[in-house]
């Protein structure tokens, strides 16, 4: 166990380092320095700026300095508005985290419930309706759903207020974010529930005369949860960080929409810092999930 954890952590550290490395050098491969603006700056100013941001040093020294800054929590400064990036992330990330976590929890719980219902009532009407809807929703891109929700409920019907500085209503973004993982979890839960129900221990329990609900909750559901947990880990990381489109549509000031606007504004330091931050978070979430998975299912061997 200890060996496995160490191995997994080492791999994670290597991955994070690799991401920093790739990001840094890719961003530096883009032609044109950060101070190439329409209005030409005087040579002395450029030199002073280069010195200030260490741009006059060799690339590898710059990378080392950047990494050193990262360890001290210094993510650099946004090229467009000159603000401290750690500050921007500190402001916007909690919004994304709250939005994403709500969506994921709703998606996982309701997906498991619907999937189990579908499996228990196999080939009956509820099963067909649930599977039809979940197949449909896996085919709707999140931006389409988000835009339609905004159009119908905020603009046409006016039931839900549009997101603004004073008005923060999470209902529509959460629905738009949760739809796809919910549909996916439903299908996953149905398959694994059916699998669990056909196992020998279920037949034994039935033969012993265990009540139907006890079989479902104690034997079938517990065993069918494993694939859902495997899916949950990466999905949590993905939704917290990757809700860019939904955040952009609803103009939520989360880290996703900050990332998108950094891309459209070609704000390279911001793109770099956000990528490194989000990627590190995702890698960590994956490690935690992997370890949890082994704790939940003792049958899995550590390799």
């Amino acid at each position: 166990m200890a060996r496995y954890i160490i191995k997994r952590l080492l791999l994670a550290i290597l991955t994070v380092f690799l991401i920093c490395f790739i990001t840094f050098f890719l961003m530096n491969a883009i032609p044109g320095g950060p101070f190439n603006k329409e209005k030409a700056l005087s040579e002395a100013t450029v030199q002073a700026l280069n010195e200030r941001y260490n741009l006059d040093k060799p690339l590898f020294t710059q990378f080392a300095l950047y990494m050193k800054g990262l360890f001290q929590g210094d993510l650099g400064v946004s090229l467009k508005n000159g603000r401290d990036i750690s500050e921007i992330i500190g402001e916007s990330f909690p919004i994304s985290a709250r939005l994403g976590l709500t969506a994921v929890i709703i998606a996982l719980i309701s997906g498991t419930i619907f999937g189990s219902i579908a499996a228990l009532m196999r080939n009956k009407l509820p099963d067909r309706i649930i599977i039809f809807l979940s197949t449909l929703f896996t085919a709707v891109p999140s931006f389409v759903l988000a835009t339609l929700l905004l159009l119908v409920f905020s603009i046409q019907l006016g039931w839900v207020p549009v997101w603004s500085a004073t008005e923060t209503n999470y209902v529509l973004p959460v629905i738009a974010l949760a739809a796809y993982p919910m549909a996916y979890t439903t299908r996953l839960a149905k398959t694994s529930m059916l699998d669990a129900l056909s196992q020998d221990y279920i037949r034994t329990a039935k033969a012993k005369g265990v009540s139907k609900w006890k079989i479902i909750f104690k034997h079938a559901l517990r065993n069918s949860l494993l694939p859902v947990i495997t899916y949950a880990g990466p999905e949590i990381a993905y939704i917290i960080t990757g809700s860019m489109v939904v955040e952009t549509v609803f103009t939520v000031g989360g880290i996703g929409s900050k990332f998108v606007s950094a891309i459209t504004n070609r704000d390279y330091t911001m793109i770099m810092a956000t990528t490194i931050f989000l990627a590190t978070l995702m890698v960590l979430a994956n490690v935690v999930c992997d370890l949890l998975y082994k704790v939940v299912d003792p049958r899995i061997k550590y390799d």
Partner: protein
């Protein structure tokens, strides 16, 4: 036959199994019939296809997809507008043809038709730059489908070669190759795609008139990214298949008569993991289309004026209240394509992998 007698022919050996032919009966007609081959011999592939066509959902999806493909091939030949052309009458730009509703004509067009001129209807209306929206959606669909298909083929080829080498070689080579896969697998794909798109857009440049330039550097970088990132899932899958197939006796037999590894992989191993390959490729296409539309939506997809379903949906957001149909058409198209591809993939899985059938 008649003068053959078992008792007269001497036994060559005491325990010999020499048989007495006269004790045999001739087979009756009925018995002969039992040996007839009732149906044509079938291969694995034919069998799977037969199963697939028994699945009504899959058949409907195939028909829908074929219809869409038919329309996007034929429509540009019939519709007299092009995706980048601003509408004009007799060489004069028609400035009134802005944001027309489906099947609506602009004032200039109406006047032109009253004089006896003919005008092809704007089936989906026009966009804010006076371009025919129907043909833009058609081209967007073309782009999305081409991206999905090519990206999946790239993924398939790289993943197949890498996975089969790792799986077949085994041992240290396998360990090393799979470590690399592990690392790439743990990279957050969407972030890397965005990052690479941002960088490649700035770095790549093509001759202005080539096909690649028309598609846009974003598109090319999308293919590169797919080629670099998404093959790992396929490689893992194929490696796992090969590891289990490798243990079969027929592989040992092939090895013992001196067959070369390349031939063993091609002739004996790959055909046996065909079902897995087909299924995951079929499911890869819709996910590639999703990724492309997602990237186009945040402005990293194909280069304007070339439309893609994602970028069309994105630009439709601006006049959403007044012209909701501009979002509906491309959105519906994405959903239809992805839905039918998903259903075909599911159908293929049920048809080719009976073990997974529920």
């Amino acid at each position: 036959m008649n003068n053959y007698d078992i008792n007269k022919t001497p036994k060559k050996q005491l325990l010999s199994m020499q048989i007495d032919l006269s004790k045999f009966e001739k087979a009756t007609e009925e018995e002969k019939k039992q040996q007839d081959v009732m149906s044509e011999s079938t291969t694995f592939f034919k069998d799977g296809m037969k199963n697939l066509f028994k699945n009504p959902l899959a058949v409907i999806s195939i028909i829908v997809l074929l219809l869409i493909i038919g329309v996007i091939v034929v429509a540009p030949m019939i519709v007299p507008y092009s995706y980048e052309e601003m509408l004009s009458i007799d060489g004069k730009r028609d400035k009134g043809a802005k944001n027309l509703a489906p099947f609506e004509y602009s004032k200039a067009e109406q006047a032109y038709m009253e004089k006896g001129g003919e005008r092809f209807p704007h089936i989906f209306g026009t966009d804010e730059q006076c371009r025919d929206y129907f043909i833009r959606v058609i081209y967007g669909t073309r782009v999305s489908l081409v991206v999905g298909l090519f990206a999946s083929i790239i993924v398939l080829i790289i993943g197949m070669i890498y996975g089969s080498i790792a799986g077949y070689a085994g041992g240290r080579v396998d360990l090393f190759m799979m470590r690399i896969v592990d690392i790439i697998y743990s990279l957050p794909d969407m972030l890397v795609i965005i990052l690479l798109s941002v960088v490649l857009t700035n770095v790549l440049s093509f001759e202005s008139n080539s096909f690649l330039a028309k598609m846009g550097t974003n598109m090319v970088s999308l293919f590169i990214v797919f080629g670099m990132l998404y093959w790992v899932g396929m490689a893992r899958l194929i490696r796992a298949q090969i590891l289990s197939i490798k243990e079969n006796e027929y592989i040992l037999a092939a090895k013992s008569i001196g067959t070369k590894p390349g031939r063993i992989i091609r002739k004996h191993i790959l055909p046996n993991c065909l079902s897995v390959i087909i299924i995951s490729t079929a499911l890869q296409i819709p996910s590639a289309i999703f990724t492309e539309s997602y990237l186009s939506f945040i402005g990293l997809g194909v280069q304007a004026p070339m439309p893609s379903l994602g970028s069309l949906a994105n630009s439709a957001r601006e006049g959403l209240q007044s012209y909701p149909y501009k979002l509906v058409f491309p959105a519906l198209m994405i959903c239809l394509i992805v839905l039918s591809l998903n259903l075909i993939g599911d159908g293929l899985r049920d048809a080719f992998d009976p073990k997974l059938k529920r």
